[in-house]
């Protein structure tokens, strides 16, 4: 199989540099190359990719390959934005010595992901600065749910003890403010512990994974077509993005390409998802600084989008639209007109909403310089999506790794460097205008033809990465297929997982009453993180 020339030159350089130490190099897809090596190479390999090729470690996970290959495998997925390709490093871990060396001190973005591997696979983490439990709470018994010998229906031994022991923060006048897991609003559960001295926050500890449902394990138990519906429930606000990332992964594993019309309709749906979420977030940010009228307008507009979604896909959250090989429903002229009207109407409405918000000086006062995430920090933590782009970290899979129909439409990626709540709102505002333009371009040149490529059964023992730039940021699904139209492993990576730590940093020095608005400006998914 041919490889993208830019990616090929990097791979060649790596082969030269690490001569004799790479066990094998395998091209899975035109932009996806697997490198097999051993644990001792990981740190040097990663450092080299970061320094020389400006790589980003976008996903880290394990796979229990003991039944077939006699070892656990660790996968490090690096995105090379300039080369538009991925390099995946695979490292075996022997079942006799179930441990691996941490990268967290060098690359903070893998902190939670490494701990999750430790919890789920029982592989001991060496050299991690904080190797405590992460995905499973402290009161879980010693079980390793993602090992193949763990039965999904197993009855667990009784749970004992505390959910989580927070770190003690002491000092004169320091108070602890616990919040959650059940919050005051209609939102998802998570526990925040603020340490405050007076009003300003000194330290924020997060405890998540309250809504961990074993989704990845569930993927291994279902026939592949059923998995698409499961993928829609990873994070409700990104139903379509997750389902599409999953379908894309399976399509790549099966060497099937969705037809052009399907890709165009997927793009339209991804943008619709972006539009309704961005509108909702702009409104919610306004609510959190007591500008409720703006939220009422935003909610009204969001409802308009949801109703059009219902006309286009039969479901307000676009569920049921995605399928392997393409999309399930084509749109007739009446539906396309509804979409065109929606975009026109929203554009005018958004203009007035933006004016309304701009006219409120107290709102601006609350949003500017609040919850600042500095660009250097965003880069160090590998913050992606809206939050990254508001802090000068300029990455967008739609542009850097064109999927769906994004290579056929023109758009710009708004980037700011201040990193405050105001800028995270501004990224959303600008992206809304870009989404309107993308949908208009799609409507102008919607390719004719079928909307789904046949994909009856996935071939076994293939691996593939599927990716989508969802409204929140980059979503990755990685699959390893098994015989009988099943999956041996499905790894889901929601942008939230990577972005949560940024909240602990952005809130420092801010007052507790500003926490809701800072949190909302990131609007991370608990369900996407916890799975």
């Amino acid at each position: 199989m041919t490889v993208l020339p830019e990616l090929l030159s990097i791979v060649t350089e790596l082969q030269k540099r690490f001569r004799g130490r790479l066990d094998s190099v395998r091209t899975a897809h035109v932009n996806e190359v697997y490198v097999h090596a051993t644990m001792d190479l990981v740190a040097g390999f990663t450092a080299h990719l970061y320094r020389k090729w400006n790589a980003r470690l976008v996903s880290f996970f394990a796979d229990d390959a003991r039944p077939g290959e006699g070892a656990f495998h660790l996968y490090y997925v690096f995105a090379l934005d300039a080369a538009h390709g991925f390099i995946v490093l695979r490292v075996p871990v022997s079942p006799d010595k179930p441990e691996f060396i941490s990268l967290t001190n060098a690359i903070h973005a893998v902190n939670w992901q490494e701990r999750e591997v430790q919890d789920m696979f029982g592989l001991k983490l060496l050299g991690h600065p904080n190797p405590r439990r992460c995905a499973l709470h402290d009161h879980w018994p010693e079980v390793y749910p993602l090992r193949k010998d763990f039965d999904l229906r197993a009855t667990l031994p009784p749970f004992q003890g505390e959910h989580h022991k927070f770190r003690a923060v002491e000092g004169e006048g320091v108070f602890q403010v616990p919040v959650g897991p059940v919050h005051a609003g209609i939102i998802e559960p998570g526990h925040f512990l603020f340490s405050v001295a007076g009003e300003p926050v000194l330290y924020l500890q997060l405890r998540l994974f309250y809504v961990h449902k074993g989704t990845e394990k569930l993927f291994e138990s279902l026939p592949v077509p059923h998995c698409v519906r499961l993928a829609e429930s990873i994070s409700g606000d990104s139903s379509f993005a997750h389902a599409t990332a999953f379908c894309y992964a399976v399509e790549r594993a099966a060497d099937v390409e969705a037809p052009p019309r399907a890709r165009a309709l997927r793009t339209a749906c991804l943008e619709l998802e972006r539009i309704y979420n961005h509108l909702a977030d702009i409104g919610a940010i306004c609510t959190d600084v007591a500008f409720v009228t703006a939220n009422m307008h935003a909610m009204r507009l969001k409802e308009r989008v949801l109703r059009v979604n219902e006309r286009l896909a039969g479901n307000r959250l676009l569920r049921g639209m995605a399928c392997l090989g393409g999309v399930r429903f084509d749109w007739d002229t009446e539906q396309l007109r509804a979409l065109a009207d929606l975009v026109n109407e929203l554009e005018t409405e958004l203009n007035s909403l933006v004016e309304l918000i701009r006219g409120s000086s107290s709102t601006r006062d609350r949003l500017e310089t609040t919850g600042v995430l500095k660009p250097e920090l965003a880069r160090d933590l590998g913050i992606v999506g809206i939050a990254g782009r508001a802090s000068g970290f300029d990455h967008d899979l739609r542009r850097d790794f064109p999927h769906a129909f994004y290579d056929k439409v023109q758009f710009t990626v708004p980037v700011f460097s201040e990193g405050d709540v105001q800028r995270r709102m501004a990224v959303r505002r600008e992206e809304l205008y870009q989404s309107f333009s993308i949908i208009r371009q799609l409507l102008e040149r919607l390719p004719p033809g079928p909307i789904c490529a046949p994909l009856a059964e996935v071939p076994p023992d293939r691996t593939a990465l599927g990716y989508v730039e969802g409204w929140r940021g980059e979503i990755f699904h990685w699959v390893r297929t098994a015989p009988g139209n099943r999956l041996a492993r499905c790894k889901i990576k929601d942008p939230s997982l990577q972005n949560w730590p940024s909240l602990s940093e952005a809130i420092l020095g801010n007052i507790v009453p500003d926490f809701p608005v800072v949190n909302k400006s990131f609007n991370l998914s608990y369900s996407g993180t916890d799975r």
């Binding site: 897991p181 209609i186 809504v211 139903s239 009422m296 006219g359 608990y526």
Partner: protein
């Protein structure tokens, strides 16, 4: 200030007139599936394609008991694509005070080739051997509305305060519950109000399948509510997602 008022006046009233007028649901929306029980010839295609097991069957002694459980159904419409006897309606109103009422079953005579023909019993709503089992009826939603209204007004006067707890949902249900507070649906016009603390709540609204890590928090929230208190489950996960029935208090309303 004047700009804000001007924008509101220009927008006018956007609230739906529901329930005075029917719910504004697109004819293309997928709501509950309906099975033509009398002419249903084969439960297998639907059961195979259904991703959640909402359609299921059991064969024994030359008979087949086929079942549709709306508590599990996610309205994906796949069954209707493979089976002509199943039709997707745009009716999304399935709430009921009894979990059992969400399932409908019928028994058929099984044929040698695996299809079934003559309907022997049913279709019946509810559990077999349950005195409340009864034929399929259509006006159940109105009955339910009346029942709930009677019950809530008896318990709480004309207002109902709700505490929502996400016990493991994907946040899809939260999107729609938040939507009820939008000016379009404006739930407060019915005296229904979402509150921040269980201490203020009359009803606990639960979404999600109840994860192990949320079990304790959910129980504590329920315990913190002053009686009398109601529990309502929302969404297919809340209604059928596993551990709910065994770990939580009595549920008063089921809304898949």
């Amino acid at each position: 200030m004047f700009e804000i008022l001007r924008a509101s006046l220009k927008t006018g009233v956007v609230t739906t007139r529901y329930p005075a007028t029917p719910a504004e649901v697109s004819s293309r929306a997928r709501g509950r599936p309906e099975i033509d029980w009398a002419n249903w010839k084969d439960a297998r295609p639907g059961a195979t394609i259904c991703p959640t097991g909402a359609i299921s069957y059991q064969d024994a002694n030359g008979q087949r008991e086929a079942k549709l459980d709306l508590a599990k159904c996610i309205f994906c419409g796949l069954c209707a694509e493979v089976d002509g006897a199943i039709r997707m309606t745009n009716n999304c109103q399935c709430a009921t005070p009894r979990r059992d009422d969400l399932s409908t079953r019928a028994t058929y005579r099984l044929r040698g080739d695996g299809t079934h023909d003559q309907i022997l019993t049913g279709p019946l709503v509810g559990q077999p051997r349950n005195p409340e089992q009864r034929p399929v009826e259509t006006e159940s939603l109105e009955t339910l509305g009346k029942q709930i209204k009677q019950r809530t007004s008896k318990l709480f006067g004309r207002s109902l305060h709700i505490r929502e707890v996400d016990a493991g949902s994907c946040n899809g249900c939260e999107i729609e519950i938040v939507g009820l507070n939008s000016p379009v649906y404006d739930l407060e016009r019915f005296g229904v109000h979402f509150v921040a603390s269980p201490r203020h709540a009359d009803m606990l609204l639960v979404t999600g399948p109840v994860t192990r890590n949320m079990e304790l928090a959910l129980k504590k929230t329920y315990d913190a509510m002053p009686p009398p208190r109601l529990v309502a489950a929302v969404g297919a996960c809340g209604c059928s997602g596993g551990s709910l029935a065994s770990t939580t208090p009595p549920v008063a309303a089921w809304t898949p």
